[in-house]
């Protein structure tokens, strides 16, 4: 059977990590390529990069980062942030990324999902969703609203309806981030994750709120997530990926233990 995937997320600005990654001997790794290598060695099943650079110059730096990562690690990795067109996707994929993720861009222009899936296959297209809990109403029956621009803009769109629509358009996977849980380290939004995961047929990566291995156990079982995104809990060396995997495996969640 498939293993549940553990995926560290790295935020990159102008070619540098925005949060340092502490590694052996508490050495601060500010270089995304070295951080990717460190997580690859620890047993990451995949790596997610978010490019939070705004400038065109920064984008070229990111393409160079992608190329160097692809020469260094031999597991899938995805790149998101500012990808608006099929041409943007092509640059990232040709540089060596397995997948691209679209978030705000896809809400503003859903056709980019279908165009990307047609050009590269659905397996390349990850839909990033930033979701916020709200009072349910006629527009938002699920009680979860899509937000964009990193959580700053409400859209009035129902998150569940958008997930189903994006799957129909050709998204191959969903990376589901709860804005409410993000950064709290108090655990993932289990209800939201289960709601989305049980209504789509594509894999769902849970994101936002991971602080300890119990949180991953919860979202991968009750939350029905196929994979879990982690950041601070490994960046600051509170846990290693192999510790987390061992914890899950001991509690009956199958993970990849040999790499």
């Amino acid at each position: 059977m498939l293993s549940k995937r553990i995926i560290p997320c790295l935020d990159v600005r102008a070619g540098k990590l925005t949060k340092g990654v502490k590694f052996q001997g508490n050495i601060d790794i500010g270089d995304p390529v070295e951080a990717a290598r460190a997580y690859y060695e620890q047993g990451a099943d995949e790596i997610v990069f978010y490019d939070i650079t705004a400038s065109a110059e920064g984008r070229s730096i990111m393409i160079d980062v992608v190329r160097r990562v692809a020469e260094t690690i031999f597991i899938p990795f995805s790149v998101g942030g500012g990808i608006r067109t099929v041409e943007d996707m092509r640059r990232v994929i040709l540089a060596g990324a397995e997948k691209v993720s679209v978030n705000t861009e896809a809400v503003l222009n859903p056709a980019v999902i279908a165009e990307g899936a047609r050009a590269f296959g659905s397996q390349c297209i990850v839909l990033g969703m930033d979701v916020k809990k709200c009072l349910n109403n006629a527009e938002i029956p699920s009680g979860y609203e899509m937000v964009i621009h990193g959580g700053r803009t409400q859209t009035g769109r129902d998150a569940l309806a958008w997930a189903i629509e994006a799957e129909r358009l050709g998204a191959g996977e969903i990376c589901l981030n709860s804005i409410d849980a993000d950064g709290t380290q108090d655990g993932y939004e289990i209800e939201l994750t289960r709601l989305i995961s049980s209504h789509v047929h594509i894999p769902v990566i849970a994101s936002g709120g991971a602080g300890k291995p119990e949180h991953l156990l919860d979202v991968l079982t009750r939350g029905q997530a196929d994979a879990a995104l982690i950041a601070s809990m490994v960046h600051y060396r509170t846990y290693t990926i192999s510790e987390i995997k061992r914890f899950l495996q001991d509690r009956g969640v199958k993970t990849r233990l040999h790499w």
């Binding site: 059977m1 498939l2 293993s3 031999f74 597991i75 899938p76 594509i202 894999p203 994979a227």
Partner: protein
């Protein structure tokens, strides 16, 4: 030199990068004359079977592939490259290369495990139980896992050609071996060290295997 066949089926640079990491000289090309001189052929690919076969027929690479297999050159199929070596694929009802007798089937939509419906495509890391006597699959750790992304799977006509099996609601053939041909449904170039070991073994393999 290892020749990587480019037939416009996805991004083939990741296979080349893995071989470069292994210090195996390689070239991604659609030129059959250059590939004629290659010691080994890797035939990768992602995408749909119908479009892939159109590209192969249009470029004449279909005939060359049959010829390289016939000549005894070691050939490695990966993912879609593995699927199109069979007679037919259920994807787009495609007539394929017919190098290995058998079919490519779609995963049933109602696959279940522990009472929950399994997602299609089969995407992520899964185990492969290999035939231990094949040089390309030698020396791999017992619990090694490989990275898969696919909605269709190979079903060789003769189970003796199955060199690896994987469970995903059903037990399916995830590695094929027939003479000088090996073919895998997973992506060795994206499967960490065990995947690199498969590629390295292939590059060092002379192409003989007693079934």
């Amino acid at each position: 030199m290892i020749g990587i066949v480019d037939y416009r089926a996805g991004n083939l640079t990741s296979v080349a990068r893995a071989l470069e990491f292994l210090r195996q000289p390689c070239l991604v090309t659609n030129d059959p004359h250059i590939l004629d001189d290659a010691s080994h052929i890797i035939f990768p690919g992602v995408g749909a079977a119908g479009a892939a076969m159109e590209n192969l027929r249009g470029s004449g690479l279909d005939g060359h592939l049959r010829k390289w297999v016939k000549e005894g050159k070691p050939v490695l199929g990966i993912c879609l490259g593995t699927q199109v070596i069979f007679d037919d694929s259920e994807e787009d009802e495609t007539t394929c290369l017919g190098i290995v007798p058998g079919l490519v089937r779609r995963f049933p939509a109602d696959l279940k495990a522990d009472g929950r419906r399994l997602k299609i495509p089969h995407m992520g890391w899964n185990r492969v139980v290999f035939r231990k006597d094949h040089p390309v699959f030698a020396g791999l750790p017992e619990d090694a896992e490989f990275y898969f992304v696919h909605a269709f799977y190979p079903a060789p006509a003769d189970e003796d050609w199955a060199a690896g099996w994987t469970d995903y609601g059903i037990r399916f053939c995830s590695a094929v071996a027939k003479g000088n041909l090996v073919a895998v449904q997973f992506h060795p170039e994206k499967s960490g060290r065990p995947g690199l070991a498969v590629l390295d073994n292939f590059c060092r393999w002379g192409g003989t295997y007693a079934q």
